[in-house]
Amino acid sequence: MVELNWNNIPKDLCPVCKTDKYLSPSLQFKINPECYHKICDSCVDRIFSLGPSPCPYPNCGKILRKNRFKTQIFDDIEVERECDVRKRVMAVYNKTEDDFATLDEYNAYLEQVEDYVYKLVNRIDVEQTEQKLKDYQIEHKHDIEMSNNQRDQEHAKFVKLQNLEKRYRTEKNKINREIFKEEQNLKNLSKTEVINQLQTASGEKDADKIIANVRDSMVSKTDIYKQQLEELEKNYQEEREIIISGKDEIKEEEKPKMPFTPFNGDRMPTPPYEYGDYKDPFLSKMVDDIQYRAGGYKLDVYFQKSLDDAFTGLDCIIEEEKDVADQIMV
């Protein structure tokens, strides 16, 4: 058997099980960012499914975990590695230009980030750099989360816009198709329709009139579609603007918290009272006692309920209303 040269592994061969891609085309290679040694998919399953194990390459000895394995994107391992490093650094140093007062500061920041990436990629002062990275991460934990959130939001917006556009396109295509179909029909149908009507109509009717009638009805149908198209266009533009300006999110937040009702917002628009600062020595004494508050007792809720009760039925005049109800029943 030919000994495998570990320093020069053939491109399409798994060095562990010696399977060749040529013989089994479904073979897929995976790498682990710990050491970037390629191993085929089934070997990864076999070796690492029972937990972390050392890399099967001789003289490597790194302990690898299955969940870190990924498909190789770039042919060149070095490129792949740089991408990984960059991703890792960028996750920590995730500020944007808006976060800086001047352009110079931002440039300095970028310079520093590039320095770190370069050092990590080329294995210069790796430990020191890693330490710096870690320190920075701990120090700016809050900021990092903030800008991550922002990025997520922007991404969500982008996705929303894309979805909207997709929806708009399909709708538009649908209507366009309908219009096209109608126009085709118009040509064919109008002929048969005219003939039909001419056949059934009594001789007194004007033939030209019948033809015009049929044509009118056909045209009006396409007109409806055209109108729909215009409306769609308008709606699309409106929604797009709303998403771009970020108003849709604000809208959701601003919506007053109301219980669900089957008809949207079938509530009293403004209560007949203004909620204010109320004074009740007896109750406030009670609420000062932690035993009352511990159970979730809130004075505000009680006030609100009392006020609501005060104006629930104030204008129901039973003498009149019940009398009317009786008349209706009779």
Binding site: F263, D266, R267, M268, P269, P271, P272, Y273, E274, Y275, G276, Y278, K279, D280, F303, K305, S306, L307, D308, D309, A310, F311, T312, G313, L314, D315, C316, I317, I318, E319, E321, K322, D323, D326
Partner: protein
């Protein structure tokens, strides 16, 4: 679609089932009273003919006294008052207490005291109300604390009451609205002396308690009663509050037409309501109730009536001197009605 709080109230069972005009209320009571009389007659007819008193009852039918409409009202009110005392004995909240009283009154809109003795119904109402208002008392401890009762005797009527309530157990009392006005007045009239408001609020609360012993809860809505009670305590305060609330009588602005109408409408209601509150709150004495109660006992068990007459006649036979006396007492009784 806008749904106001008032519309919500119109959806409540209190409005749908338990609010009446004066006429309707009167009619219900007349019907109930008639039903009671019919039931009593039925009972008399069903008496066992073999007993000696049956004959006497049938002979003296013209002397048999039914309970009048007013008497019914009085007796129910008497037991409602006792219900209040009993509720304070059990340390029940105002809410439970009032609910029990309302149950009692509601029950006797559809039944007559000649069918069910209010003394028994009252106990069950209280037990049920405590349960409904989340202040449950175990039936055994409940019964143990009231002499001459058994748990079975109290529970026996429970379903009957539920049925009469049309299973609508929620009662809206004026306490909470009154408190709401107490708060809203603070907001609307910030310069008002707080002690004055507090004093009036306490007084109004007492009146709200009293209002239960009239027909008010059937005729007016809880906020209206609450405002009335406050108005009776301090009419200047309430009118000032309402005029500010509905934006009338303001110097700098012309009167808001709608507000003025609204204001007048509510004030009319308050005046009517206060009239009832002043005149029709019932607190019958024990003696009154005793005479009515005695009548009921006869209605419930007509055989007793026969026994009573039997006893009277035998006494008359034994002591001829007392012949003059007994018709006299009877006449007094008749006159007293």
């Amino acid at each position: 679609m806008v749904v106001s709080n008032d519309d919500l109230f119109r959806r409540s069972t209190q409005f749908r089932f338990w609010s009446f005009t004066r006429l309707q209320l009167e009619e219900l009571r007349v019907v109930a009273n008639k039903k009671g009389i019919e039931k009593t007659e039925e009972r008399i007819n069903q008496l066992d003919d073999s007993l000696p008193e049956t004959k006497i009852v049938k002979d003296h039918r013209d002397q048999f006294q039914y309970v009048h409409l007013d008497e019914e009202k009085k007796l129910v009110s008497y037991y409602a008052r006792r219900c209040k005392e009993l509720a304070s004995f059990f340390h029940l909240s105002a809410q439970s207490r009032s609910t029990a009283i309302m149950y009692l009154y509601k029950f006797y809109l559809y039944h007559s005291v000649m069918e069910y003795h209010p003394g028994n119904i009252m106990l069950t109402c209280l037990f049920l109300a405590a349960k409904v208002e989340n202040q449950f008392i175990g039936i055994n401890s409940f019964s143990k604390n009231i002499p001459k009762t058994t748990p079975e005797g109290i529970l026996k009527n429970e379903y009957l009451i539920l049925e009469t309530m049309k299973f609508s157990l929620q009662c809206h009392h004026p306490f909470q609205p009154l408190y709401g006005f107490f708060l809203d007045i603070q907001q609307m009239l910030p310069k008002l002396d707080f002690n004055r408001l507090g004093k009036n609020y306490d007084g109004a609360r007492e009146l709200v308690n009293d209002s239960l012993f009239s027909d008010l809860p059937f005729l007016y809505t809880p906020p209206q009663i609450a405002l009335t009670c406050l108005w009776v305590c301090d009419d200047v305060l309430v009118e000032k509050y309402l005029s500010k609330k509905f934006k009338v009588n303001r110097k700098d602005e012309p009167d808001d037409e709608q507000g003025l109408q609204h204001y007048n409408k509510i004030l009319v209601i308050i005046r009517q309501c206060a009239d009832i509150l002043r005149k029709e709150v019932q607190d019958p004495s024990q003696d009154e109730s005793k005479t009515i109660s005695a009548k009921i006992k006869l209605c419930l068990e007509p055989a007793r009536f026969g026994k009573k007459i039997l006893k009277q006649t035998t006494e008359q036979l034994k002591r001829p001197a007392s012949i003059d006396e007994s018709p006299d007492t009877k006449r007094v009784k008749v006159e007293s009605e």
